[in-house]
């Protein structure tokens, strides 16, 4: 899926690569507001981004940012989160491509998830022209606060009500299922309307994590699991206001 989207971005971008080039700025700073919608779920993200332009023609961008992402949904399934249970390998980066250990998965149906995650992020981009650019950003570290709600845990053939599920408080990018907490990432294609405003189309991949309070999954290795993750794939639109 991600490969197809990347290919789509770059094919679209290459089609408009005939624009005349003059020098791009050394630094760009902007505010970003993005909205995405999926089935019975959605997210709104506001970010500040500071990027440096690299290369002879300053086409490449790299930088940092901070982002507040509010994720909300109704009756969403969260599955067993710890990578040692959910994947066949926990080696950083390898974990992303490792096999899914579905036999270890249990499902926590969180009734009304609403989580706000505030994270530091890193950003990468490429300017095809003054009008068009594409890129990727991902949250690295931060914290989450949000609404506690009830959940239904289906585990080992039994179904139980967990009265208090709440968002995992600490977020940390460790690659794939090793990640902790709620982390947002976006592939985007951006079109500059003028010197200040830009529109962007976004593919979002978001991890949302909730923890149980009293009822836990008993894993095959005998450990008690209270972390459950929802992986959100969604498309959306965003608007950017350029500061510099």
């Amino acid at each position: 899926m991600i490969k197809k989207i990347l290919l789509g971005f770059f094919l679209t971008a290459s089609a408009v690569n005939g624009f005349s080039q003059s020098s791009l700025p050394k630094v760009s700073q902007f505010f970003d507001l993005t909205g995405t919608l999926g089935e019975s779920e959605g997210a709104i993200a506001g970010a500040y981004v500071h990027n440096w332009h690299l290369g002879k023609k300053k086409k490449w961008e790299i930088g940092y940012g901070v982002r507040l992402t509010s994720y909300f949904g109704v009756k969403k399934d969260y599955i067993t989160a710890p990578a040692r249970l959910s994947r066949s390998s926990t080696i950083p980066f390898v974990v992303v491509f490792s096999g899914q250990e579905t036999k270890n998965w249990d499902t926590l149906n969180v009734q009304r998830p609403f989580a706000n995650s505030f994270n530091a992020s890193v950003n990468f981009g490429y300017n095809f022209s003054h009008k068009w650019s594409a890129g990727f950003n991902i949250d690295v570290i931060g914290f989450t606060f949000g609404r506690a709600t009830s959940g239904v845990l289906t585990s080992n053939g039994t179904t139980r009500t967990e009265t208090v599920t709440k968002p995992a408080a600490f977020n940390l990018l460790l690659t794939g299922d090793n990640d902790l907490g709620s982390l947002n990432s976006e592939f985007f294609l951006k079109y500059n309307l003028n010197n200040r405003w830009a529109l962007k189309a976004v593919y979002q991949f978001l991890f949302s994590e909730y923890t149980t309070t009293t009822i836990k999954q008993t894993a095959p290795d005998g450990t008690q699991v209270d972390r459950f993750r929802n992986k959100v794939n969604a498309f959306g639109l965003g608007i950017t206001y350029q500061l510099q």
């Binding site: 009734q111 009304r112 239904v152």
Partner: protein, 143 residues
């Protein structure tokens, strides 16, 4: 700029149109088990107790050809979001078997019971608002 705003609105409507409709519960139904179905262990049935939601009626477990069904007879309740029918070990739905969404807020209705639960443990029929974790009614299945 107007074109862009129009496109944004159009896209939003497109996404919202993908959401499922909940469907209406208010239409009364009249489901019956077959005439040759028998109530499990003679008289395994209970009358609903309401928790402020006007739940009334009887819950019975029937058996037919080795398959079990929970039957709600002369059932009625207030309407609510995300109402489910459970077989539960407790009056509050801590450990339960979800028999599915409530089909209607009134009438006779039949729910398939998966497997053969131990009715010594699963001795309550519940109507529960799952999304807001609010119990509407319970009936103890008395042998």
């Amino acid at each position: 700029m107007r074109k862009i705003i129009f496109l944004l609105l159009l896209t939003t409507i497109f996404f919202l149109a993908c959401n499922k409709n909940a469907g209406s519960l208010t239409e009364s139904i009249n489901e019956r088990v077959d005439a040759n179905a028998t109530v499990v262990t003679g008289t395994m049935a209970g009358t609903f107790t309401s928790y402020g939601q006007n739940v009334a009626g009887t819950a019975k477990v029937y058996s037919q050809n080795g398959k079990l069904s929970l039957v709600l007879e002369n059932f009625s309740t207030n309407n609510g979001p995300d109402l489910h029918v459970y077989l539960s070990k407790e009056t509050m739905p801590v450990n339960f078997i979800d028999l599915g969404k409530l089909k209607s807020i009134s009438g006779n209705q039949v729910y398939d019971i998966p497997g053969t639960p131990d009715f010594g443990q699963y001795k309550y029929a519940l109507v529960h608002c799952q999304q807001y974790n609010h119990l509407f009614g319970s009936a103890e299945l008395i042998k």
